[in-house]
């Protein structure tokens, strides 16, 4: 602890009154809650990877009998719910919730108890989903379409558990998002105008609004399906005058919006990492921020891209195609600005930037492949094949895993005071990069060349699929090894990492002005924000004063 500069304002921490776990379980502090969300998400990443590996083992050879069909369908359902609701979304929201209040110079959040409720609703949802191992896990797939998920065709309680779990988690995400919106609107430090807000905080604001919108839609759909299943409702019952397509619309609005949220999170994190590690400002902040807003709106409006084979009318398909193709402009502009930021910089190729570059490459491969899916007639051919599995996984593994690991390496020093191991980080990155390519490129070929369908528990010999699937299984294991290396790295570095100091990377945003880890109240003194790069101004002021007074700069603050 450095010597207090303003002793009258500094409290060097009250003596801990309760055990750490009790403190964490009852804390409404956004940093504690963010850590619960992030740690929980990384734990469920482990589960999702294990489930993926089990499914890939079943699909390693044709007509495999490693797993009965119903077990495969249960793994598939658990994998989808875990990867989206228990890993990707809480990871993104966890980082937003931890970092955004620090970035805007807030001493906490505006509605801390709401955020606390949201976080624990997520924990409750996760408990419900995994409690199904005690009775019957859900078995109607990643998106449980009625009537298959209705009572007539899936009579056991697995679907009810899916609905309860995803409903609780989604409600939690909505509450956290409401707190984030309120915080970003009300608690910005003096001078922190919206035009000076860091890009990652903009991502947080956009994602929070998006979560409120799409979360409400999914919650409505979940309520209707619960009524159908438990109170003889007919919302989605095709034979009784209900509309099975209604579920498809509502659920795809959520899933498409969530897809965009994950990409907005990753791009926002990269937009913090790239300028700092290239020592250049972002090439054009306004263009990046505007593009992220456009991605949220256009991307979510393209939900019917997932319904090209459904009986919905050609005009709606063209509407979805217009929205999907319009996304080329904002995504292209964000990428252009990130590249222009790096170009001409003095790049330090540290682990966060490595993962950030990996995220960009994977997202580009995924989105470029999705292009063909959005061209209506080509979509008729490619959708429902492993080509779409591969495209989605490139974009979402790129966004949530590579992007999430970039964010983890970047903010780990702020959260723990220690840097994650660089060597292990590099090893993990290259293993993951090779694994991702080997696991999913064959699925592109199997889907587009040989029409291997999605979600099937087996494939048949003699259809040209054997080699692709075997290679994909090997790739999945390599990818998993890479992911586990970073998870291990995070666990080991929490106690054993190199001390990072408060200003670990020389970045420009205000979270680096707080201590590492931050005090419960975040800042002793709120800085007066004069530009979009407040930490750079503070550093310059300190250097200026140090030069004049010949005093060292703040202790333990290596100015990079």
């Amino acid at each position: 602890m450095s010597a207090p500069r303003n002793p009258e304002l500094v409290v060097d921490g009250f003596p801990p009154r309760r055990a750490r776990w009790a403190q964490l379980a009852t804390s409404p502090d956004h940093k504690d809650l963010g850590r619960i969300l992030i740690a929980g998400a990384l734990g469920f990443l482990f589960m999702a990877v294990v489930e993926l590996l089990l499914m890939r083992l079943q699909l390693a050879v044709p007509e495999n009998t490693f797993m009965p069909p119903v077990t495969f369908n249960r793994m598939l359902s658990l994998y989808g719910a875990t990867a989206i609701f228990l890993f990707a979304l809480p990871l993104a929201l966890g980082f937003f919730y931890y970092v955004a209040p620090l970035q805007i110079g807030a001493r906490g959040t505006a509605l801390p108890r709401l955020g606390q409720l949201g976080t624990w609703l997520f924990v409750g949802g996760a408990a419900v989903l995994y409690a199904t191992f005690l009775f019957t896990p859900p078995e109607a797939g990643v998106n449980p379409l009625p009537p298959l998920s209705g009572l007539v065709y899936t009579a056991n309680n697995g679907i009810d558990a899916w609905l309860a779990a995803c409903g609780l988690a989604t409600l939690g995400f909505v509450l956290i998002s409401i707190d984030l919106v309120a915080t970003l609107r009300r608690l910005r430090a003096p001078g922190m105008a919206w035009r000076r807000l860091p890009v990652f905080s903009w991502s947080a604001a956009i994602s929070a609004w998006l979560t409120i919108a799409i979360g409400a839609v999914l919650l409505a759909a979940i309520a209707m399906l619960l009524i159908d299943r438990n109170y003889e409702g007919i919302f989605f019952a095709g034979s009784a005058g209900g509309a099975p397509l209604l579920w498809q619309h509502l659920s795809w609005i959520f899933y498409t919006g969530a897809y965009m949220l994950i990409l907005i999170f990753a791009l926002g994190a990269v937009a913090e990492i790239a300028p700092a590690l290239a020592r250049k400002p972002l090439f054009n902040r306004n263009a990046v921020i505007g593009s992220l807003v456009a991605i949220a709106v256009l991307g979510t409006l393209a939900w019917m891209q997932n319904m090209y084979t459904a009986p919905i009318g050609l005009g709606w398909m063209y509407f979805a195609m217009v929205m999907s193709l319009a996304l080329i402009v904002p995504f292209g502009l964000v990428l252009f600005n990130l590249i222009a930021t790096l170009n001409g910089g003095a790049i330090r190729m540290r682990a966060p930037l490595l993962f950030a570059a990996g995220a960009i490459v994977a997202i580009v491969i995924g989105l470029a492949s999705e292009l063909s899916h959005s061209l209506v007639a080509a979509g008729w051919r490619l959708q429902h094949t492993t080509d779409s599995t591969a495209a989605t996984h490139f974009a979402l593994v790129g966004g949530a895993v590579f992007g999430g690991f970039a964010a983890l390496h970047w903010w780990f020093p702020k959260m723990t005071g220690r840097t994650m191991g660089e060597t292990l980080g590099r090893l993990s990155f290259w293993t993951m990069a090779i694994g991702l390519l080997v696991a999913f490129v064959p699925l592109f070929l199997a889907g587009s060349e040989h029409d291997q369908v999605i979600d099937a528990y087996k494939f048949f010999a003699g259809e040209g699929l054997d080699a692709y699937n075997l290679i994909a299984t090997i790739g999945a294991f390599v990818l998993a090894a890479g992911i586990f290396l970073t998870l291990a790295n995070a666990i080991l570095s929490r106690e054993g990492g190199r001390p990072a100091g408060h200003d670990a990377w020389g970045a420009d945003s205000l979270e680096w002005f707080a201590l590492s880890p931050p005090e419960p109240h975040n800042f002793d003194q709120l800085p007066d924000v004069r530009s979009a790069r407040p930490m750079r101004d503070i550093r310059a002021a300190i250097a200026h004063r140090s030069a004049r007074e010949e005093r060292p700069a703040r202790e333990r603050q290596p100015v990079a």
Partner: protein, 232 residues
């Protein structure tokens, strides 16, 4: 894969257009990123120039991307429209009165496809259609959502309970085309397959006649058994 229907020709062309667009955008983005990362490593030197870009370059880049997107949109609409055009029955096809297309109903049910021909004949798993003939396939479902998927012959389409979907195709060559269901429909989903047999109009007529006679004979037998007081 070799296309065997006019719609598949259009879809294949559009697939290549999409692939080319993906390669162009992907190579530009990934190439630019790797170039920037490779060329600008930090050495011992001064702070890099703190340049930022104005609105002009954003508009130019955004405009170029917009033109690219609009081009793709136009191509997408043109080829989708052509893929949907009802292909008229050719000279070698089944000549119906008034040029009506051959309408067949495909019913998806866990885990089979049932095909209902115009003259009350039906078949499971295997659909027999005449070559060079416009076939209008009505897709319905008796239980859950299924996707009818015969990639060498026609576009995919969903069979949704309570709704009717439609696929129109014309097979240009005789032969057997494999198909499958492509939406998770329960435990035996992976087993839910189908085969489309494209034959000459004469053989098609013979097939339908035989099916009709067989079904009639079976029904007559059951009726007779019941009349005789036996359990069928």
């Amino acid at each position: 894969m070799s296309p065997h229907s006019p719609a598949i020709d259009q879809i294949d062309t559009l697939l290549w257009i999409g692939f080319a667009a993906a390669v162009i955008l992907g190579v530009a983005a990934i190439g630019g990123l790797l170039y920037a990362l490779g060329r600008n490593r930090a050495g011992r030197g001064a702070e890099p120039r703190q340049v930022t870009g104005g609105a002009g370059i954003q508009l130019r880049v955004g405009g170029a991307l917009g033109v690219f997107a609009v081009t793709l949109l136009v191509l997408g609409i043109v080829f989708t429209d052509q893929a949907r055009q009802a292909p008229a029955t050719g000279p070698a096809g089944l000549q119906a009165k008034g040029g009506e297309p051959l309408t067949i109903t495909a019913t998806g049910q866990q885990w089979l496809w049932r095909y209902q021909y115009p003259n009350e004949a039906f078949s499971y798993y295997r659909l027999v259609v005449p070559v060079d003939t416009e076939v209008r396939l009505k897709l319905v479902s008796t239980d859950v959502v299924h996707t009818w998927d015969v990639p060498d012959l026609a576009a995919k389409a969903d069979a949704v309970p309570g709704k009717t979907n439609e696929v129109v195709f014309r097979a240009d060559e005789e032969g057997t085309y494999d198909g499958r269901a492509a939406t998770l429909s329960g435990q035996a989903y992976a087993q839910m397959r189908t085969a489309i047999e494209v034959v000459s109009p004469a053989r098609y007529a013979a097939f339908v006649k035989t099916r009709q006679d067989d079904i009639q004979a079976a029904q007559d037998r059951v009726v007779k058994l019941i009349e005789n007081g036996e359990t069928p």
